[in-house]
């Protein structure tokens, strides 16, 4: 199929499915499921049809329609069906289809399934707009609609008292970043005289303007891709149903920021200062996310923090100057993170809680889920030959090259990301092992959850209650998990497909000192967790963290800092503004009115005089007029 047809189709079909779905009555399960699954399936087919016909990255071209013109600035609906975009779109549509199918079973007793399925479709369409957009304003449309859909879906579950708050937080934190994103687009677009990506890339912006514009864009990227310090919304987003977490974490939303930086990377490569900032952010994010993941008891929160950390690897690759490594890791991460969330959903579905302290020993009861989880966690930790191994290796190679001064950014930035990435490997292995052991091995536990010290937005257990003994999920949930298990196992082998490596510009896969080092650290981390668990299978290996455990569990209390530094001052300022507006601004108006009335009363009283005084006043007035007339007349 020609890209002229398949690319618009890819976006329009889920978009229309979503809009139609919103019009359905809430309880209309069957048509809603048909629209949701059908829309995702058609989009997947269109993505497959696009793949052989897509434009290689070195060939220019885009489909474009004039959208609007503001003064001399035009906005186009422009789509660029590049091969890279086609790969990412494939990942998006596969995950979307898996999520839609899985949700049919997972939300089988939800009375608001219809809007849910429609919102997932819209979410998919919005992400696909971001992927194909060749105009920054169009990209912004997809970008923000995704933010809205995440808000709606995170707040979906009405039984959770914290869900509305988490939803608002997700939208507002990303929207705060988008202040920068919009300004960045404005700066670069005005400088280039056009919002078309090709023209923005080709324009000569000058170093100061370029760095300003890119740093502004990075604010938005940090918000969407959950990078420090705007990552705080992502763990709380776990209030959304588990399939939504899979969607947000794997293929949409968090991937969008990374993708946009990759798309505009030629500009970033010209601005070492921006890359240095990106490197520091990436390094902090990798370690922050990984450390926070070590101390969580909620299985979804472990995965959420692992997403923060893994997205950090992608931005690390971008900071090191390698879009190929970033995009490769984006694709493999999409596969294994979607798998991990859907498998975790199966576990939660079976035991009726999110807390690992109430799990354990599920290996025999849920063999299929166990296999899926092993593959997913292995891929996450970077165990060869699973997907994550290959992509993480390319990230490390890129970081090492940057460390040696072969990247576009400063060498010290390369060193920072290289160290953080290596350290992250060990920590990731540790928490992945802990998750596996706590969930599937040892004896069944039923209670006594470890209660971390309270921090804003903590999610209590909330998933559907279990009925009887835990068992593998129904077919509609098992099939997507199975499909993603295979993907997470083999998608890393794309590194050996010449067409793929040529398009992304990926270096050939090979084992060097970085790889060996990483494998050693992986073994070290996993062994540490296992050794600890082996000594006391009933205890949580996280106890080894000692006094750091509450700090890690509370993710370094950045939430509190955000609350103290932004939220509270904003509310205080709002209350002040309201009072000032009512008392001072409106007070002046009211006082003017009241003053005029009072003056009128006073004058009225002065005129209500008795006859003698009135006559005297009239005569005095006449005298005054005569004197004035005489003086004026005399002068004239």
């Amino acid at each position: 199929m020609s890209p002229d047809v398949s690319t618009p189709l890819l976006i329009v079909v889920p978009l229309v499915a979503g809009l139609l779905g919103l019009l359905l009555p809430q309880g209309a399960r069957r048509p809603a499921a048909l629209l949701g699954v059908g829309g995702a399936a058609v989009a997947l087919a269109a993505a497959l049809a696009l793949l052989p016909n897509a434009l290689p990255s070195d060939r220019p071209g885009a489909l474009a329609w004039r959208w609007a013109q503001f003064g001399g600035l035009t906005v186009d609906i422009a789509l660029r069906p590049s091969l890279t975009a086609a790969y990412v779109a494939l990942a998006v549509t596969v995950v979307a289809l898996a999520v839609q199918v899985y949700s049919v079973a997972y939300l089988h007793d939800d009375d608001r399934y219809a809007p849910y399925a429609a919102q997932v479709s819209l979410f998919t369409a919005a992400m696909l707009i971001v992927v194909f957009a060749d105009d920054l304003i169009l990209l912004l449309v997809g970008w923000e609609v995704m933010g809205l859909c995440s808000y709606l879906l995170i707040g979906h579950d009405r039984r959770l008292p914290e869900a509305p708050g988490s939803a608002v937080k997700a939208f507002l934190v990303t929207r705060a970043g988008d202040v920068g994103f919009l300004l960045g687009i404005a700066v670069l677009g005005v400088s280039a005289g056009s919002f078309r990506v090709g023209e923005v890339l080709a324009a000569d912006h000058g170093p100061v303007l370029l760095t300003t514009g890119l740093l502004l864009l990075l604010c938005g990227v940090a918000g969407k891709s959950a990078q420090f310090p705007l990552h705080t919304w992502l763990p709380d987003a776990m209030a959304g149903p588990t399939p939504v977490s899979a969607l947000i974490h794997a293929a949409t939303m968090v991937a969008a920021g990374v993708y946009v930086v990759a798309r505009l990377h030629p500009l970033f490569a010209e601005s070492p200062a921006t890359l240095a900032v990106l490197a520091v952010v990436a390094a902090v994010t990798i370690l922050l996310g990984a450390l926070a993941a070590t101390a969580q008891d909620d299985i979804k929160r472990v995965l959420a923090w692992s997403t923060v950390s893994q997205i950090g690897y992608m931005t690390a690759a971008l900071a090191a100057g390698s879009t190929s490594a970033a995009l490769f890791h984006l694709l493999t991460h999409a596969a294994f993170k979607a798998l991990l969330f859907l498998a975790a959903g199966a576990v939660i579905h079976a035991v009726g809680t999110n807390l690992m302290s109430a799990m354990g020993g599920l290996r025999t009861a849920m063999p299929a889920t166990f296999t899926a989880m092993v593959v997913g966690l292995g891929a996450l930790a970077g165990l060869p030959p699973l997907a994550g191994f290959w992509s993480k290796d390319t990230v490390l190679v890129a970081a090492a090259a940057a460390r040696d001064g072969h990247g576009p950014g400063p060498a010290w930035a390369g060193l920072v990301v290289w160290l953080a990435a290596l350290l992250g490997v060990a920590i990731t292995a540790w928490y992945a092992t802990r998750l596996l052991l706590r969930t599937f091995f040892g004896a069944r536990r039923t209670g006594e959850p470890y209660a971390p010290p309270p921090f804003p937005g903590a999610a209590p257990p909330h998933e559907p209650a279990a009925h009887g003994e835990p068992h593998d999920p129904p077919a509609l949930m098992r099939w997507p998990v199975g499909l993603l298990t295979i993907a997470a196992a083999v998608v890393g082998l794309l590194a050996f497909v010449p067409a793929f490596t040529a398009e992304l510009g990926l270096v050939e896969a090979h084992l060097d000192v970085n790889g060996v080092l990483a494998l050693g650290l992986l073994a070290l981390g996993a062994a540490a967790a296992w050794w600890r668990w082996r000594a006391a299978p009933a205890a949580d290996p996280a106890a080894a963290l000692g006094r750091l455990r509450p700090l890690f569990a509370g993710a370094f209390r950045i939430d509190d800092a955000q609350d103290l530094l932004v939220v509270r001052p904003a509310h205080a300022l709002a209350r002040f503004a309201r009072r000032a507006d009512e008392r001072v601004v409106d007070g002046a108006v009211e006082a003017t009115g009241a003053g005029a009335t009072r003056l009128g009363v006073l004058l009225g009283r002065a005129h209500a005089a008795a006859v003698p005084r009135a006559v005297a006043a009239a005569l005095a007035g006449a005298l005054l007029v005569a004197v004035v007339a005489a003086v004026v007349g005399g002068v004239a």
């Binding site: 919103l22 809430q26 004039r66 959208w67 609007a68 013109q69 503001f70 003064g71 001399g72 600035l73 809007p115 304003i137 912004l140 449309v141 970008w143 923000e144 609609v145 809205l148 808000y151 707040g155 009405r158 008292p161 869900a163 509305p164 708050g165 608002v168 939208f171 507002l172 929207r175 705060a176 988008d178 202040v179 919009l182 300004l183 404005a186 700066v187 677009g189 005005v190 904003a570 509310h571 300022l573 709002a574 209350r575 002040f576 503004a577 309201r578 507006d581 601004v585 409106d586 108006v589 009115g593």
Partner: protein, 491 residues
């Protein structure tokens, strides 16, 4: 086509008289007649469109007005007063918006008559109001413009003072006195501009008002728009006005201020506008920030939406203040979008208040349990209002920021940044509103579903919010020629 222009004004004027004079026993028939009159007016207004007709370009003199249609007859020849009407790409969207909102309000009044009843009189006043507003948008004679500007005050006063809430008289009095004070300045401005140019016809190229003329106009229109800190009549008026009153006030009346600033302010005093632009820009951004902050701490539904208008009109005024083609076009679409979206928001707020018998945010809650469709619509309107890309509100706000960045320099860049921050604050207070009103446990027993009259009144606005978001060119493109002429004169 000149007959059409006359008809757009004459039909609602005659309709108002007819509807108002019908006896009480024909109340329902009178209201039906009102709807028919409003519908005819809408058709006539829409028919004014001339495809490809632009307010074309740069004449030798610079500022050259060429309306699509015009009527120009002497009125008081000795004073060079003319009954001069015309429509072009700047006024056309507002003319249609006015006719549409009036029709929707009249249709809504078929079923929903606020206390103390006598719906035919309310409809008659709405039609009279419409006549005045359409006159403002069509007038090309400055004094005629002023006359229509004043005519709108009386029906609006009556609507608030008779059909309003508990403190209606006070709010109506404040509205009238405050905006009358603005009108005095407008009259002074008209006289100053007219005596300077030797003509009152806006089609003339002779206007070259300076700082004084623009300052007079800016102050007068700032009261109407309203621009911070001249806005405090608005929350009181909105809170007390009946639903249809609020819709007309936000959707149509405020637009006279921004339209006047573009057509009369920029048109007659381009030099003054350029000199005072920084002041206007700073105040506009202050309106955005203060308006959003007040909304964040607001506790009453209608008051919150009223204050949100202050913020939104701040974006429109920022666009005008930049003086660039991009900024003014952003202001035009922002103007129309605000009319559509805030009109819808006031309809919804009225419906919620009528059903729950309270507008206090603390006493509402769980609307998605008690009235899911209403909650969905409120969510849509709120999201449209916070400027979600893809819906109508986005273009005006985003391109006001882009235009400020485009002007460049430390001042305008700062203004652009602050305006963008204001957009984030807008999201914050609308999400707070949704969280308090739609989420959480149900605070009231299940509310009545949406009636057919309500669907009829709301559906066009929902649709327009979506259509203008997807096709902003509908408004922007037809105005581009006129805006080029205007900025060509200003630069």
């Amino acid at each position: 086509m000149n007959a059409l222009l006359i008809a757009v004004l004459a039909v609602p004027a005659a309709g108002a008289a007819a509807v108002g004079l019908l006896p009480a026993r024909l109340d329902r028939a009178a209201r039906l007649l009102g709807v028919a009159v409003a519908a005819v007016t809408l058709v006539a207004a829409a028919a004014l469109y001339r495809p490809g007709g632009a307010w074309s370009g740069y004449g030798v003199e610079g500022y050259d007005v060429r309306p699509w249609h015009s009527v120009d007859v002497p009125w008081v020849p000795d004073l060079d007063l003319r009954f001069h009407l015309g429509v072009d790409g700047v006024s056309y969207p507002l003319v249609v918006l006015t006719a549409l909102l009036t029709l929707l309000c009249c249709a809504y009044t078929l079923k929903h008559v606020p206390e103390p009843g006598a719906g035919r009189k309310l409809v008659a006043l709405l039609l009279a109001l419409q006549t005045g507003v359409l006159g403002v948008f069509l007038a090309l004679d400055l004094l005629l413009f002023f006359v229509f500007f004043e005519i709108t005050l009386l029906p609006m006063y009556a609507v608030i003072a008779v059909w309003g809430g508990a403190r209606r008289r006070r709010a109506a009095r404040k509205f009238v006195l405050y905006t009358l004070a603005g009108s005095v300045l407008l009259l002074l401005g008209v006289l100053a501009a007219g005596s300077g140019a030797g003509t009152l016809q806006l089609t003339s190229a002779n206007f070259d008002g300076g700082v004084l003329v623009f300052a007079l106009f800016a102050l007068a229109f700032a009261v109407k728009s309203p621009l911070w800190p001249l806005h405090t009549w608005l929350p009181d008026a909105h809170t007390q006005a009946p639903t249809v009153g609020s819709v007309m006030l936000a959707g149509v009346l405020l637009k006279m201020g921004t339209y006047g600033l573009i057509r009369v302010g920029l048109g007659t005093a381009p030099d003054g506008a350029e000199r005072l632009a920084p002041v206007l820009g700073v105040l506009a951004v202050a309106a955005i920030i203060v308006g959003s902050l007040v909304c964040l701490a607001q506790t009453e539904l209608k008051r919150l939406i009223a204050y949100s208008s202050v913020g939104h009109m701040g974006f429109v005024l920022l666009g005008i203040a930049t003086g660039t083609a991009a900024g003014i076009e952003a202001a035009l679409i922002g103007n129309v979008a605000h009319g559509v979206i805030t009109g819808l928001l006031f309809f919804l707020a009225g419906a919620i208040k009528d059903r729950a018998h309270t507008g206090e945010l603390a006493e509402l809650g769980g609307l998605r349990e008690t009235a899911p469709r209403l909650a969905g619509l409120l969510g849509f309107a709120a999201v449209a209002s916070l400027g979600l890309p893809g819906l109508a509100g986005f273009w005006g706000e985003a391109f006001a920021v882009v235009a400020a960045v485009q002007v460049g320099g430390p001042l305008w860049t700062t203004l652009g940044v602050l305006a963008a921050v204001g957009a984030a604050l807008t999201a914050a207070y609308f999400l707070r509103l949704l969280r308090l009103v739609t989420h959480g446990p149900a605070a009231t027993p299940p509310l009545a579903g949406i009636t057919r009259a309500e669907w009829v009144a709301w559906a066009p606005l929902v649709l327009l919010a979506l259509v203008l978001g997807l096709a902003p060119g509908l408004v922007v493109d037809m105005a581009s020629g006129a805006v080029d002429a205007l900025t060509g004169a200003a630069r």
